[in-house]
Symmetry: C2
Subunit: 415 residues, 2 copies
């Protein structure tokens, strides 16, 4: 028994949990597919179902308690965004840059405005304005992983709409950063306009934009040399470790500049162009996209399953939470749908709008920040408001892939 | 600044570390290749170099302190063993079963005997016999990951010698378990032969053997049905998550039965035969081996790098540690080389012997166990003895791939 205990490395239970997660994700994806929904909606739903099951049967393993599952899930979304970046080039992105910028700005302003309005209408009289504003801010940032997965699955990642969505989501991330600094500064100043943190705003904006500018210029010139160097190695199987290493390095550096890791990974994919790696790809008989694909297929479903499982099913079921969540979700969806029209003529506004709908990690970071802030001695966001906002984020996360899948199919079948 | 801090998910630093590890592993592998050594020797050496560098420049990131790197490294060796298992079938393994059994038994008994002798000669007079015995036991179990990587790289995993090595290493793991129970029981009984834990020995042996027997019989009959079911899913990209899930499930169950996780993963690969998955492979246009390959290529080098980095370079440099380590390593290599001849006629004894040479995780588990045991009130293994044994394990780990690469090349160039 002693020996058996000693040989049972702690990895054993993790492996069992991962096997369970893959099975659950695949079954959820299959159920969604049969209901004509994108698989990612089924993976999210299955995660939620696992969370609810865990409440009924506490003996079941809790996927949200496993640091290993968390790590692999996050690596999954990083690798997914790298793969999405590989499908486009910098030149193609610059071509849709202006449209992306319009979508990003409208997609931040509109949900903030309607979210603020909804919070003002629903919350008891006397609630400080800063609370309403903060709730609006929670709805502003798109979580691109989900839409990227749907777009990739439908072969639409390379369409103009697909590129605009991803570009807008990257800009979105920068704008989200600014909004958080602005609103947090406002709260710290006692809810009045006095003492706005202009210096910090400028610094945050400058760092994030500076990283992207450097990556897309200097990075673009350095990349061919890096991979030409890698091609001089005699070792086999160089392309994937060096390619992934490049993506992870940019994710790390972007993160140091204040951006979410997925933005840096996406930028790495964008910078890497087929011409830089064609010799390595020829030598290894596989393209980098083909080599990254198995990693995406195994890791990304863990991310979506975990996103669903992180929802507290009991808090979700309170009537007041449900009401606040439902209203904010509807307003949040409407605000992003409006942004689709900002892209311009000749583009499917509904595809872009629905692609911008899912909210996720960034919104959750806002909620966590808001729960830690205090205004006049009281916590800025009450537990009830927090649960309501989280419910709204979840609903957009479920509605996004459903709506996007629907408009993409309609488009494919259209005239 | 607050916002930047909030957006910097803890994953950022991990991504930077992984990028560094891939770069280091590839450079180490390249250096080894140019010295006509197997890349894995270079990866181990580079890990050791990183550990030494970390002592000189303490500001450098320490790869051994990252739970994320540890997890991915262990997943790497699990996936590697699954991939090695996929290269053989149960029938092919049964054909070499008798030879593997002879190699395993001689490969456990011979290193234990010479290790015991070496310890008896080198350690001060009056050292309890149980200490000598325990040191011998530390040298008995082969760490198959390293040889598997060399064999796979040289295209020799499907050769009779390659199969015998892997089969012997699996049996080795069971014998190692028994030795640990036996020796720990002996120490608990005060170093005398009285009170040997026969019941526990029988239970350990029964569980481990029972798991393997069930996996190779029941598992083999259930597998075609499992994958036929998976083939009825309409989802895409089913093969890899379900295949990996199957491997991880068996690794988990084998671990519950007291076996190292890599044994279960290997068994899963062995059971899975091309006929079971040919429909799924045709649908997904890639074989399971092709899909697993990118995971092996990215994760396994992290394992070897980490194995090297775990060595304490300062403890290693003590003269007495070096002497004990060198003598035990030479004896440990000799003991496993002898086992090669036990395979029988018509086989390259040197290839099998060198393939059995690397020791690793199991030996380290023995050392950790021995350092926790007490005999007559004193710790069984002193700090000095521990460092010496660890040094010996490391030396076999470095010598193994070098020797195996050498005899494999000689064979390829031979008449």
């Amino acid at each position: 028994m002693t020996a058996a205990l000693l040989m049972s490395d702690p990895l054993g239970a993790t492996l069992g949990l991962l096997a369970l997660m893959w099975l659950a994700a695949k079954l959820g994806g299959e159920a969604a597919l049969r209901l004509k929904l994108p698989p990612v909606a089924g993976e999210l739903g299955m995660g939620l179902a696992l969370a609810a099951l865990g409440r009924v049967f506490p003996a079941l393993p809790d996927v949200t308690k496993s640091p290993a599952a968390e790590l692999l899930a996050y690596l999954g979304v990083v690798v997914l965004m790298f793969a999405v970046g590989l499908e486009s080039t910098v030149a193609q992105m610059l071509k849709v840059g202006a449209a992306s910028f319009r979508v990003a700005v409208v997609g931040v302003v509109a949900p903030m405005a309607v979210g603020l309005l909804g919070a003002w209408l629903l919350l008891p009289a006397g609630t400080p304005f800063a609370v309403d504003l903060f709730i609006g801010a929670c709805l502003c940032a798109t979580s691109i992983g989900i839409s990227a997965s749907v777009l990739k699955g439908a072969g639409a990642a390379k369409s103009p709409e697909g590129r605009i969505i991803v570009g807008a989501a990257v800009l979105d991330d920068i704008l989200g950063l600014l909004v958080l600094v602005l609103v947090s500064g406002l709260v710290a100043a006692g809810g009045t306009g006095a003492g706005l943190p202009f210096r910090e705003l400028a610094k945050t904006f400058g760092l994030a934009l500076g990283f992207l500018a450097l990556a897309l210029t200097l990075g673009r010139f350095a990349t061919p040399h890096l991979f030409a160097l890698a091609n001089r190695l005699r070792s086999e199987q160089v392309l994937l470790p060096i390619g992934l290493g490049f993506a992870f390095l940019l994710a790390y550096l972007g993160n140091l500049a204040g951006l979410a890791t997925i933005v840096g990974a996406y930028a790495a994919g964008l910078i890497l162009e087929p011409a830089h790696i064609k010799d390595l790809e020829a030598r290894e008989l596989h393209s980098l996209e083909e080599l990254v694909h198995p990693l995406v297929v195994t890791l990304a479903p863990l991310f979506f399953l975990l996103m669903g499982a992180k929802v507290d099913p009991v808090a979700l079921m309170q009537p007041r939470t449900l009401l606040l969540g439902a209203v904010l979700a509807i307003l949040g969806v409407a605000g992003k749908l409006v942004s689709g029209w900002a892209a311009g003529r000749g583009l499917r506004a509904a595809v872009i709008g629905w692609g911008m709908v899912p909210r996720g990690e960034v919104g959750l970071i806002f909620v966590a920040t808001g729960s830690a802030l205090t205004l006049n001695g009281a916590p800025l966001l009450s537990a009830e408001v927090q649960a309501g906002v989280v419910a709204a984020l979840l609903l957009t996360t479920l509605a996004g892939p459903v709506g996007l899948g629907w408009v993409l199919r309609r488009r494919a079948a259209g005239p």
